[in-house]
Symmetry: C2
Subunit: 497 residues, 2 copies
């Protein structure tokens, strides 16, 4: 077989994986948005079945032959990038034994149900054996995949290609030290008032206003949809079908407002991928960390900027005259309020970092043997106390709060933290080229921000590994310093400390 | 391989086909209800891909081996029924050459687009070559599948197992003669007034009222959904996920009212299948004719009965006081108005039969060689004139009005007619056991009607071939006489002739 045939086979294979991913996306979207009550069992079977077809396809032994053939040639960088990613897909799928993959799928499918009930009942003991078995099997997965230094690396890499504990730990240490300092400055002063965010905001009007924001910042509704759901998410169903779903609360405008901007950030990445490269790695998002950098960029760096509200606050007041007594400045300070809290998904952008560090450290301890499952709730509470000086009074608002582990997502949390630091680093680079975000936003020039991100990030797909992509886009390797600088500036402006 | 292993393999294979059908169902449902404008191209690729997977699975050569093994044993009637249907699936899939199936898929995918434009532009010439090629390939398909008497049988059988032209023609002849007689009696008297059906009916209120009807006659909303679309349809996505979509018009209450009851009729069949037999033929609908008998039973025999409106008319008036000046009797006569018209989907239940006969005769003529493509518009108009004494003034309201042929659905139309005659025959049998439908409906006892249909039809799945099922349920082989009798009675009561 010559290069052309092998490469064409790989393109077809890539296309099939892509189509299956889109189909799984629709099955899940419908399950979260529109499925009737009794449809869930049937849907789980459909998802499991298509996922099985996809996994069988991923580990098709012919792929190894095709990859070997194309690797014999001196290829251009685009082809190299595709081949690099295809090799990653195939390697992981073929290294994890079918039995193990099926055991994990079966266990996590049960564990999610057990977890949901345990969280509702504040019942750690019933979830504990599942968590134990999940980490046991994920450790086996790590051994099967292989790693150089830490078993954690084998899992981390699944979400953030080439990421390692040894490169991630310095970020953690730097952020722990410097952000605790920033946080203590905030806590030493009087906190801002954000009580007006909890007034009564009819959800239909929220929906209308949030659609205006989504459209203005660049979301293309003719290639997507916005619906309501319980846990906000974005899903790419097809090249021109990227849907978001958000949660709205009539007594907390933050919930829908920032979940909309966050999910639009994800969707802009998917809508901004190169249409010429559809169904190949060059037309796909490169990592969860980079994906999260986009959602956080729009949610926090744009959506919590003063300039954003200079532009949108008069429009918000038109929709909600109930806020007429609140000044632009008070509103902006309110949505930037920093305060330690127990629940990750409700945390502000500073304390959020500690929620992630806590989870990362527990995952790492479990995989490397420094912690046992018995230790987990104690470690959780001790770290909450240590980092944020608060402690959960029950399991539900502590160790049981997140779905991730029950779904087998181990090594996933750090990508949230990488998203934050990548976003701050991108802000720094963007401002050097386009001037202050505040100014662009206040003039409603969201399109120039989007174009910059498209050019630097979206259109690149998987051309570069995540760390290299950040270096290409910003001129520096990933560094936590930009985030610290960004938070210090924010705190200084909001709190005057 | 012993019987147990072979049968288990067949059950797994049947389950996979079933899952794929449900997934295709969701892909199509979303495409017709919720997809964003730009999502259509990607969706077509997904549907084509899953359909290809399904077809490859259907003609898996191992299935022939398994079927041969289980056929060696003396089986119970349930197993026999499953094996009979599986053999039908496999035979058709393996007899039609892959190349031919792909040519048909490709051609009809283009033809649907050409047809839509041709219909819009009243442009028969642009669609003609496609129609010609479609009938040419369908003839090839018929030859590949094989038949005893007419090539039409090979296509007819795909929608109505074991149906043949020679058994269908006597229905056609009997109906043509007797119904033209009934129709001429109607046309000789003053027609009923139905102008009030075209008053202004806000669609939100229609939606609310139609949901009440759907629920009352037995549709289970926790195992389904009701949405709006352009062309009403019902789709079974999973065993407890049967969705309907209808069209609402604010200036014609008939559109939404009868499309809702019609689609609910389809959905009640799917929701009434035996949950113990899911994913096997015994838990699947047996034919399109039987399916249509259920939708027409609810739409016409129940939904256009006097008793139905005795029960629902006061409720309708609560929702639409604009009808306060119209008596129950006038309303009931209005929704039973009979009048020749050009468009099949808007026809009353009597003239509808002639629309089908016309299409069937043209299809048969094309396949058996009595007609050429050139003849089709002339034959169409001549038959309209002959049967209904009206003539289309353009192609769009004549030969170009239906999507079916452009989609490759040849041999499908007669199942609509079978649905009508089966429904009337079921009415006759039900009334012998439960008393007059009118009385059951006027007391709101829809549940006893549904239970009877469940027991006689829904729960049987593919246990019997369609004609045998009707014989089992009613005591008589399928006969057009029941429909004639039903129409004569209706006309007598509505028109007094």
């Amino acid at each position: 077989m010559n290069f052309d045939d092998a490469y064409r086979n790989l393109l077809n294979w890539s296309k099939e994986i892509y189509l299956l991913d889109g189909i799984i996306g629709l099955l899940e979207w419908d399950q979260r948005c529109f499925i009737p009550d009794k449809g869930h069992d049937g849907r789980s079977e459909q998802i499991a079945y298509i996922t099985k077809i996809k996994h069988e396809m991923l580990r098709n032994p012919k792929v190894a032959e095709w990859l070997a053939i194309v690797s014999l040639y001196d290829n251009d960088p685009d082809i190299e990038a595709n081949v690099r990613e295809w090799k990653r897909w195939y390697d992981r799928a073929s290294k994890v034994p079918v039995d193990l993959a099926e055991s994990i799928a079966k266990l996590t499918s049960q564990a999610e149900t057990v977890w949901a009930k345990a969280k509702k009942d504040n019942d750690w003991e019933s979830f504990k054996p599942y968590l134990s078995e999940i980490f046991h099997l994920k450790k086996e997965e790590a051994e099967a995949v292989g790693y150089e230094n830490s078993p954690y690396d084998a899992l981390f890499d699944n979400f953030e290609p080439n990421a390692t504990v040894s490169e991630f730990l310095p970020f953690v240490e730097e952020l722990k030290g410097k952000l605790q300092n920033v946080l203590s400055r905030v806590l030493s002063t009087e906190n801002v008032d954000d009580s007006f965010l909890y007034r009564k905001f009819p959800v239909q009007i929220q929906d209308r206003f949030f659609r205006t924001i989504a459209r203005k910042i660049g979301y293309n509704f003719s290639a997507g949809r916005l619906d309501e759901t319980v846990h906000p998410f974005t899903v790419a169903i097809g090249p021109a079908d990227v849907r978001i779903a958000v949660r709205l609360s009539d007594h907390d405008i933050r919930v829908g407002l920032f979940s909309t901007i966050h999910e639009v950030g994800h969707a802009l990445y998917d809508q901004g991928l190169d249409p010429e490269k559809v169904a190949t790695p060059l037309g796909m998002p490169v990592s969860l960390g980079i994906h999260e950098s986009q959602s956080r960029f729009w949610e926090n760096i744009v959506g919590r900027s003063k300039g954003f509200w200079v532009y949108f606050y008069p429009r918000l007041l038109q929709h909600f005259p109930i806020l007429a007594d609140i000044s632009l400045d008070s509103f902006w300070r309110g949505v930037n309020k920093i305060e330690p809290s127990l629940i990750r998904t409700e945390a502000d952008e500073l304390t959020y970092i500690f929620h992630i560090i806590l989870r990362f450290e527990i995952e790492l301890g479990l995989l490397e043997g420094a912690l046992t499952i018995e230790d987990v709730p104690y470690a959780w509470n001790a770290k909450m106390k240590d980092y944020l000086n608060i402690e959960p009074s029950d399991y539900s608002s502590g160790v049981l709060q997140d779905v991730h582990w029950s779904s087998g997502l181990v090594g996933y949390f750090p990508t949230y933290l990488l998203g934050s630091i990548y976003a701050a680093q991108l802000k720094n680079a963007l401002e050097k080229e386009l001037g202050p975000i505040d100014e662009l936003c206040s003039k409603g020039q969201f399109f120039s921000i989007l174009e910059w991100l498209r050019y630097k990030i979206h259109r690149k797909g998987c051309k570069h590994l995540p760390a290299d992509l950040i270096k290409e886009a910003t001129g520096f390797p990933p560094s936590a310093g930009f985030f610290v600088e960004y938070m210090e500036d924010k705190v200084n402006r909001v709190y005057g400390v």
